[in-house]
């Protein structure tokens, strides 16, 4: 076996994860935030590993 098989497993797993999640929770472009947080006037609200739960 070569790295080709393991790399393809990684990409296939990633695609499966994205596809399953798209079925469960479709994207909605009408709820899109401004392109840039900087200058948006909105409070940052993303999940982050350094943050306690909000």
């Amino acid at each position: 076996m070569t790295r080709k098989s393991t790399a393809l497993i990684a990409i296939a797993g990633l695609l499966a994860l994205i596809a399953a999640d798209l079925l469960a929770a479709p994207l909605n472009p009408y709820h899109a935030p401004p392109a840039f947080a900087l200058g948006s006037g909105q409070v940052a609200s993303g999940g982050f590993c350094g943050a306690l739960p909000d």
């Binding site: 070569t2 393991t6 990684a10 900087l38 200058g39 006037g41 982050f48 590993c49 306690l52």
Partner: protein, 376 residues
């Protein structure tokens, strides 16, 4: 004549493969921009940039620490410090001037945080893959990275599950270096660490290779882009835990027993698509970008897989889980705590660095014992 035809055929196949890789990246970013929003498309592009830079320039975090500890070669560590300094020059003033729109990687220093960073430092040397490195390794076909990754994600989920309990064992308030003074102190501390690394480095190994300088510049630019677009610094671990939490919730398991996963912000993100989660997007980009570079390279995916004894695979599973669990307790991995913490003025980033670097000594000793030095 025949060899010329074969060479031409091979050349056109390579060109076709590379064109397909570029097209796939453009389609993915374009589709997400159209279907989700420009911010998400930008963040996927930034994540792809991280993956391409780290794999393409063969740059990382675990390897340079190992080189410094084992062979006293400081160049990789110096490049990391350079990248952090470059980000801090932009990020700390931006955080001061836009306190609501932008947040830093700022977290409390505590017992669990220090212990978590130590364990992370050890585990990342066992698998030779840190937060970003495990994703890059998996994407480029490294079997150790591929096996460690799902357990990293599971560990991240469980670490977040019990995070509040661990933090209650004792933690200081969040301490940050802010404004011009904070930036000056950060730069002086980085220069001091660089000076120590330089002094301890073996003569002849102290100069930064060109690719390390380029890597530091590119990583800094992408990290600043991440902050400007997402409003928060580059992180890795949160997204991995979220993937598992979504799976657990999808399986009908109640997460209300966890103060972390039942918090309003977590509940909102659990119900939204992972392509709208910032760290998930850069994580996906890291894996895909590394895959793209490996597939782009001539023979990049044709290497035979290394052979390891069974105990090495068991160690990979355990170390992968510990990477995820410990990085949640430590409020970040080498990216979220070390790179982004220090560059956004968080003192926990400095404590994380000291504890993880100490843990790296243990991990380096454990790696051969666990059979993770590959057989020929």
């Amino acid at each position: 004549m025949t060899s010329t035809v074969l060479e031409a055929s091979s050349g056109s196949a390579t060109a076709l493969r590379r064109a397909a890789l570029v097209l796939a990246a453009l389609v993915a970013v374009g589709a997400l921009t159209l279907l989700g929003g420009a911010r998400y498309g930008f963040l996927l592009a930034i994540g792809l940039g991280f993956g391409i830079a780290l794999e393409g320039l063969r740059f990382g975090f675990a390897g340079p620490w190992r080189a410094m500890i084992l062979r006293r070669e400081p160049a990789g560590l110096l490049a990391q410090l350079l990248a952090i300094a470059l980000v801090s020059i932009v990020a700390i003033p931006l955080l001061s001037s836009h306190p609501g729109e932008l947040t830093g990687a700022q977290a409390p220093i505590g017992w669990a945080m220090v212990g978590g960073a130590f364990v992370f430092g050890a585990a990342m040397q066992v698998v030779l893959g840190c937060g970003s490195g495990t994703l890059v390794n998996a994407g480029s076909g490294n079997p150790v990275g591929l096996l460690a990754l799902p357990f990293f994600a599971i560990g991240s989920f469980f670490g977040a599950y019990g995070l509040i309990w661990w933090t209650s064992l004792g933690a200081l308030p969040i301490l940050t270096l802010r404004g011009t003074t904070g930036l000056a102190v950060t730069l002086v501390l980085l220069a001091l660490v660089a000076g120590v690394a330089f002094a301890l480095g073996k003569p002849g190994s102290r100069a930064l290779p060109r690719r390390y300088v380029i890597a530091a510049l590119v990583l800094a630019a992408l990290a600043i882009g991440n902050l400007v677009v997402a409003g928060q610094p580059w992180g890795v671990v949160y997204g991995l835990g979220l993937w598992v939490a979504k799976g657990v919730q999808g399986a009908g398991i109640d997460l209300s027993g966890s103060a972390f996963w039942s918090a309003p912000g977590s509940v909102t993100r659990l119900h939204e698509n992972l392509l709208t989660d910032y760290t998930s997007l850069t994580d996906i980009g890291l894996i895909a970008g590394a895959f793209g570079v490996a597939a782009w390279r001539q023979g990049g995916l044709s290497q035979a897989l290394p052979r390891y004894p069974a105990r090495a695979w068991v160690a990979t599973v355990v170390a992968g889980f510990l990477l995820g669990y410990s990085s949640r307790l430590a409020f970040g991995c080498n990216v979220g705590a070390f790179f982004s913490g220090i560059s956004t003025g968080s003192l926990h980033g400095w404590v994380w660095f000291a504890a993880a670097f100490a843990g790296a000594f243990l991990g380096i000793r454990l790696r051969p014992i666990l059979g993770l030095e590959a057989r020929a």
